[in-house]
């Protein structure tokens, strides 16, 4: 079977403004919808503090600008930049470990004098890009040596970030790397083998965990053992969500949120505010928007034209999916508290910029396709 490739120069005027700006309309509008919803929830979670909203708007502005800029770069350019970006990222992580700033008990920040910079955020993109770059160079599925090399590419930055310590980000990075390998055709037998290996390694991991990380796991397993200490977050967020019911208590009317019972309510636990004030239906709306983003990402993956962009697009989409499922799972008490914000909605952090940059890459992949004629 022979497929002839007849590349056209795409006619920009024919394919509309999205292609001129290299934006994907379905993705863009869904993202805007999530951001808008997020601002409404944040206004309530912040206790009606308008300056909080202003700062979040500025952050969203920066994030969407980053998305727009990255979307202009062609996937070929991204692919060419990938190894340099990865090496730079690892060096910066090293710098953080050696002389980073300590903030909130963790060493994550690098003071670049102009902005404080979190290299681990950059690695959220650099790691899947690097693994995709490496695997796309070879034939799929990867052989054992290539798998080992990929594992190293994932493990080195991941361990450096876990050491900071930032378990949530390390986990996300591991996920994004894993997704690339899985998409590249990781053999099921090996997958089963690694799963067993991971389960066996759990006690060892436990040994290397920080005390507060262990505490989180214990708290997750039985939050009621310490209702006023570390279990408090989970208990209060479950009360908030549960008392919200189907329709919620109404915007600005969540007693758990407004009366301070819910800790971290504008950051990691903002989902509980949404659950309390907008109820199950409010959550359904958010999930529908999130699902749209993920499904659109997978569509872009499937339509992508080369292995590198496919692997990268798939990984970015699924990492986003993991992102919101881990956060909501943690807030509803299904998963241990790992300290991940609710994407696009939680206040603060550079994570929103990284996230939107990732969507910029997806849009670049989607809009730089060459038309195929069969």
């Amino acid at each position: 079977m022979i497929i002839t490739l007849t590349p056209h120069r795409e006619d920009a005027s024919r394919r509309g403004w999205q292609y001129r700006l290299h934006l994907d309309a379905p993705l863009l509008f869904t993202l805007i919808a999530v951001a808008a919803f997020g601002l409404i929830v944040l206004y309530s979670a912040g206790g009606g503090d308008i300056s909080l909203i202003e700062r979040q708007l500025v952050r969203l502005g920066i994030a969407f600008t980053c998305m727009l800029l990255v979307a202009q770069l062609s996937p070929v350019t991204l692919q060419r930049l990938t190894p340099w970006l990865f090496v730079l990222g690892v060096l910066l992580l090293l710098a953080v470990l050696i002389r980073g700033e300590i903030s909130g008990g963790a060493q994550r920040w690098l003071n670049l004098y102009i902005v404080r910079f979190q290299p681990s955020e950059m690695m959220k993109l650099a790691v899947p890009m690097m693994v995709a770059w490496y695997l796309a160079d070879n034939r799929l599925p990867p052989n054992r040596w290539q798998l080992l090399a990929s594992a190293t590419l994932i493990a080195v930055p991941m361990l450096m970030i876990a050491k900071q310590p930032d378990l949530g980000t390390a986990l996300l990075i591991a996920c994004s790397g894993f997704f690339v390998v899985f998409l590249a055709g990781l053999q099921w037998r090996l997958l089963a083998f690694f799963t067993v290996l991971l389960a066996a390694a759990a006690p060892v991991l436990w040994h290397f965990m920080h005390e507060y990380q262990r505490q989180r796991v214990i708290t997750f397993l039985s939050p009621e053992t310490d209702p006023l200490g570390s279990g408090y977050h989970i208990i209060q967020s479950k009360i908030a969500i549960g008392s919200g019911g189907l329709l919620g208590k109404g915007w600005l009317n969540g007693t758990q949120s407004q009366l301070d019972f819910l800790p971290e309510r504008s950051t990691d636990f903002i989902f509980a505010v949404l659950g309390e004030e907008f109820g199950f239906f409010g959550i359904l709306i958010l999930f529908a928007l999130y699902t749209t983003i993920v499904v659109r990402g997978i569509m872009i993956t499937i339509q992508a034209q080369d292995t590198y962009t496919r692997l990268l697009a798939g990984s970015l989409s699924m990492t986003f999916c993991v992102y919101f499922i881990v956060n909501t799972g943690m807030v509803t008490g299904m998963l241990p508290v790992v300290g991940l914000p609710l994407p696009m909605i939680s206040y603060g952090g550079t994570s929103i910029v990284t996230l939107m940059t990732g969507f910029g890459i997806l849009m670049s992949i989607q809009t730089h396709r060459k038309l195929l004629a069969t």
Binding site: L140, L246, T255, V294, I298, T307
Partner: protein, 616 residues
């Protein structure tokens, strides 16, 4: 060829990645479904449960302690009030380093070790979210100094409250009593719902006896609070009902005059209105200041009070049991007359001693030379012992016992202060039960002059005197004159209660006894003539001297064995004016010596204070 392989790989890879991507999407879908199931569980299935928890979180039921009733004397002079008081409270939950916080606080506000130990004790009884008091009664200076530094102490706050205060200090403290913090033991006996929010309770005296009246009814409010317990708004409120104010029968001017008249003497005095049983003065000396007890007295100060030989904490008026001595003679004399054993005109010869027929043992008169021929009047006026030895023997213990019982001896008077002791009026059956011995005639003889087993409390003695003064009405002494609902002006008076009416067989008998008692004060040979000389009104009285060893009931009477260093108790009973008695008094001075010289002037001072300064 190579190009063809690449193309084939490309197709294969595209299919591979697509399949895998779809697999991942399905996997994500499964996780999402699990999440939705979880949310359905939380928000639909367990919704009511979490709604309840959320309401519990939000709405707290707070108890509002009622204001304790005030206590006034009969003229409206304040004896116990509630003063605004500032205390320093710490909420342990909001403190990271308690030791450092306490140390830093100690630099701006004086914190003693006793404050710290009390703080630790209280802290154990409360949850971490509840504020625990560290210091009470902050001065204005301390409040100001803390307020300036408040920002340095999150979790430390000044709370305003009302604290019991006794503006008259030690005045009438043995009647008034005091409040103190509710302790573990008291907590179990209380109606815990009514005492939610109450920190203090009457510990002793009227404060304890009238606890239920003074306390009032607790109020409640539903409040919406933040997680820190800060009240956002009050949702509903049931106001507390303040305790009732009490107006005591005590006249604080008479009380003060009485306490002053005692000087440094240890003892007790009770003044009573013979018309209605109102206690006009309730003296037990030495006294102490009740104010330090309100928030827990310092250990050293308490030890000093406890170990004081003069026992200031001992309520002598209520619990001091003394031999009545010669003050019992008018009652014995009346018994003799009313029972027909003797008459006012029959007389006995007093050689200075008395002995039972066929027994060589002598019962001595206080006057060794004897009083010569004495009738009842002279026997009372000069306090002849021999006359009463003889009369007692003629009456016999049974008749003496039953007649004296009419005057309330041997039974608690029923005064409305808890803790009263009943004294002891001996009888055959009592002796059989208590000592498993028969009654001996010698014991009858000394009972006739108020010695031996016979014990009375000052309250009993005053009540009996009042019954003598009012012609036979045995009143229940009462210390509370009226109650008053808070925010109301009208008083709810306590009615006087008559315990018993002593049947008067012949009014002349009573008049003769009272005439004799009047002569004690106003005749030339009367034992208390010194207080009668300048008295503007007629006083009827009787002196008494009680031997100290008599407190030990088990000892057999033997005049020779009295240790000399133990001086006698001085007693005096009186009422005035004789024509229309308004006040009856009983005074006991421990180790005071003679009743006429020491106790009678104090009784006179009390009577003067009442009749002259506060004319009815």
């Amino acid at each position: 060829m190579a190009r063809q392989i690449t193309l084939k790989d490309h197709f294969f890879e595209s299919r591979l990645v697509m399949n895998r991507a779809i697999l991942l999407l399905v996997g994500g879908g499964i996780l999402l479904a699990a999440l939705l199931a979880r949310l359905l569980y939380l928000q639909v299935y367990a919704h009511e449960h979490f709604t309840t928890l959320s309401e519990d979180n939000r709405v707290k039921l707070q108890a509002i302690a009622p204001n304790r009733g005030l206590i006034y004397d009969r003229n409206g002079i304040l004896l116990a009030e509630n003063l605004p008081s500032y205390r320093l409270e710490i909420t342990p939950e909001q403190i990271d380093d308690m030791d450092a916080t306490l140390a830093a606080l100690g630099e701006i506000i004086e914190i003693r070790d006793s404050d710290l130990s009390r703080f630790e004790k209280l802290r154990k009884r409360k949850t971490r979210f509840e504020a625990v008091p560290l210091r009470f009664h902050l001065s204005d200076d301390e409040v100001a100094r803390f307020s300036v530094n408040r920002h340095r102490f999150p979790g430390v706050d000044i709370a305003a409250g009302l604290a019991r205060h006794y503006p008259q200090g030690s005045l009438a403290v043995h009647a008034l009593g005091y409040v103190g913090r509710i302790d573990e033991k008291a907590l179990q006996e209380l109606d815990s719902s009514n005492y939610r929010g109450t920190t203090h309770i009457g510990k002793i005296g009227i404060e304890k006896t009238y606890e239920s009246v003074l306390h009032g009814q607790v109020g409640f409010q539903h409040v919406e609070t933040t997680a820190q317990g800060r009240v956002i708004r009050v949702l509903s409120r049931t106001p507390p009902v303040s305790g009732r104010n009490l107006y005591l029968t005590i006249d604080s001017r008479v009380q003060a005059a009485a306490e002053q008249a005692f000087g440094d003497h240890t003892g007790s005095a009770i003044a009573i209105d013979p018309n209605n049983g109102d206690i006009l003065a309730f003296v037990s000396l030495p006294t102490y200041d009740p104010n330090p007890f309100v928030n827990g007295i310092e250990y050293d100060d308490y030890a000093a009070l406890r170990n004081d030989d003069r026992q200031p904490l001992f309520n002598r008026a209520l619990r001091g049991q003394y031999p009545p001595g010669s003050t019992i003679k008018p009652f014995i004399g009346l018994a003799g007359l009313e029972q027909g054993v003797t008459t006012s005109h029959s007389s006995t010869y007093c050689p200075g001693f008395y002995s039972l027929p066929g027994n060589s043992r002598k019962f001595r008169d206080w006057k060794h030379t004897g009083h010569g021929t004495v009738d009842l009047n002279k026997a009372i006026v000069q306090s002849c012992d021999v006359y009463f030895y003889d009369l007692a023997l003629s009456l016999g213990i049974d008749r003496m016992h039953s007649y004296l019982q009419n005057f309330g001896f041997g039974n608690a008077s029923g005064i409305d202060i808890l803790g009263e002791l009943p004294g002891l009026l001996p009888s055959r059956s009592w002796k059989r039960a208590r000592h498993d011995q028969p009654w001996f005639p010698g014991e009858t003889i000394i009972t006739g002059i108020g010695q031996g087993f016979f014990l009375v409390t000052p309250v009993q003695l005053a009540t009996a005197t009042a019954a003598l003064a009012n012609g036979g009405r045995l009143l229940q002494p009462n210390i509370v004159h009226a109650e008053q609902e808070s925010n109301r002006n009208d008083l709810l008076p306590h009615r006087p209660r008559i315990r018993d009416t002593i049947s008067v067989i012949d009014q002349q008998h009573w008049d003769d006894i009272i005439k004799a008692m009047t002569d004690v004060v106003h005749s030339a040979r009367g034992t208390a003539r010194r207080i009668g000389e300048d008295s503007p009104y007629k006083i009827a009285g009787k002196t008494g001297t009680a031997q100290v060893y008599g407190l030990k009931q088990e000892e057999k009477y033997d005049a020779e064995s009295i240790p000399e260093e133990l001086r006698d108790h001085a007693l005096f009973i009186a009422f005035a004016p004789v024509e229309a008695p308004q006040i009856a008094v009983a005074v006991i001075i421990e180790h005071g010596g003679g009743g006429g010289s020491i106790a009678a002037p104090i009784a006179r001072a009390i009577i003067d204070a009442y009749l002259q300064e506060s004319p009815p």
